[in-house]
Symmetry: C2
């Protein structure tokens, strides 16, 4: 049960309810921003990685598991893609996946912590990639909750929430008032997307998030996938839309172009991931 580190001098672990997930590596940066503790590491297995308040956020060779699954079900199914909003997503991965879609004309990305953006640009340049220099990207270092509260009705074709667990700066990204604003600013034919935690490690928050979204939008469904570094490795993203569950039917032309370069996401994978709802969650949601 022992391993022999070679050139890596420690284990960096996230602790969660009696479980830990660790990567062998070394700490590059460990500092406190206005909002949170930011840690950057160099890991043996997954390249450079980012933790916020001691929780794994992303790593160079494991980030597509998360970003592809958050972005493409929404972007591939919205009626139009003129204007898109990302709340959070400071590492740049969500913006990068969005901007692979040439139809997007204007992308607002509202991240509360400018230091996360600066450090990601410096240490995790492949996350944002060309997105940081794309003239369609409009980066605002502001509070995303205030942003959606003041944004005009019907102003975005897609709204994507890429925040961390509902603690610290992300706490307000999981409640009715926030989701109501997300719906209000969404154009007809638009799609809403949010990461919605683990059905195993954050079961209560996960179920509550799906329930609230079903109350607010006409349609909302969770999709289940894998992010090994997150608690339990079992993750979910929830999509919502009005009139019909638009997110279940990606537009073939957009999807084919994108999935050729994807690690995880494909139309087939997405169909499966919406169906792969564990029996205990399905029973809970039907109550």
């Amino acid at each position: 049960m022992k391993s022999t580190p070679a050139n890596y001098n420690s284990w960096i672990d996230e602790y969660h309810q009696g479980i830990r997930y660790g990567m062998e590596g070394k700490i590059l940066i460990n500092e406190k921003s206005t909002f949170q503790q930011i840690t950057l590491i160099e890991s043996k297995r997954y390249g450079k990685g980012l933790l916020l308040d001691g929780c794994w956020m992303t790593a160079e060779h494991q980030e597509r598991h998360y970003h592809e699954c958050l972005v493409h079900p929404a972007i591939c199914s919205a009626e139009n893609l003129h204007k898109v909003l990302i709340i959070g997503g400071g590492d740049g991965g969500t913006a990068r996946e969005c901007l692979r879609h040439k139809e997007i004309e204007h992308l607002d990305m509202v991240e509360i912590d400018g230091r996360v953006v600066e450090l990601s640009q410096k240490y995790l340049p492949t996350l944002g990639g060309q997105a940081w220099n794309d003239p369609r990207l409009h980066l605002k270092i502001e509070d995303g909750i205030a942003w959606v509260a003041k944004a005009n009705d019907n102003s975005y074709d897609v709204v994507i929430v890429d925040g961390s667990d509902p603690e610290g700066p992300s706490k307000g990204l999981f409640n009715k008032s926030f989701f109501n604003n997300c719906k209000r600013i969404l154009r007809p034919g638009g799609v809403f997307a949010t990461q919605s935690e683990s059905p195993e490690a954050f079961r209560k928050v996960h179920i509550e998030t799906v329930r609230i979204l079903r109350e607010i939008f006409e349609f909302a469904d969770p999709l289940y996938g894998w992010v090994p570094m997150y608690p339990s490795g079992w993750w979910s993203w929830t999509f919502a839309s009005r009139e019909r569950p638009r997110y279940k039917n990606p537009i073939a032309k957009r999807a084919e172009f994108i999935s050729k370069e994807c690690e995880i996401w494909s139309i087939r994978w997405q169909q499966g991931a919406f169906d792969a709802i564990p029996a205990f969650i399905e029973r809970e949601l039907s109550k």
Copy 2:
């Protein structure tokens, strides 16, 4: 990034390629059998747990993630259920899920390490549950590879392989000669099932296993699910059959009866789990 253990005095970790997954707990038993190192722990999060050669095998409150997904796709879809074979499965969880099906008349379970059975019966009694006392269970402490080599042609309706990673006593459960025998002893209308490792943490073995099974049987498909304690948390099981991919169509009557009591498995979940093949594996398998 620190936690404060209360009544649990250590972290028990599995190390795999620069990653570790640990449970807070205490070691109850740590002994070497003829075949392997057997460790039993009491964990804070998932109850009692079992490790073999330092690798997580099962835990009381996480075992159904694995056992339901290995057993029900096969058992629910085979034409008949007169006689079933399990290779491995010493903790008893696979036998328990099988014997929930009243149609099974005779279940041979061939486990190489009698000590795993004894310790599981003592420390993990809920794993096997009533299976240990079920007169339909015929437990043999023998080498499963030799068992399938000597078994008669067309002698089982379902063959389930519940072994650990392809190291130590499980090494021979992942090759052509073994799988050929599994096919030979399977009756027409029968279904074969094996755990087939993680598409992330054991990518090469996973792909190779699916390829060999496709070569040997007419049809073989991987199904993807979650076992948080296994490397990457992302796990697969592969099912195979002749004439048609029978495992994709569970018999409704059997499935409905069973899924009511399942944590993970349902017909819908299974359909999704077969489709949720990540793009990188789908491309690799189509080469």
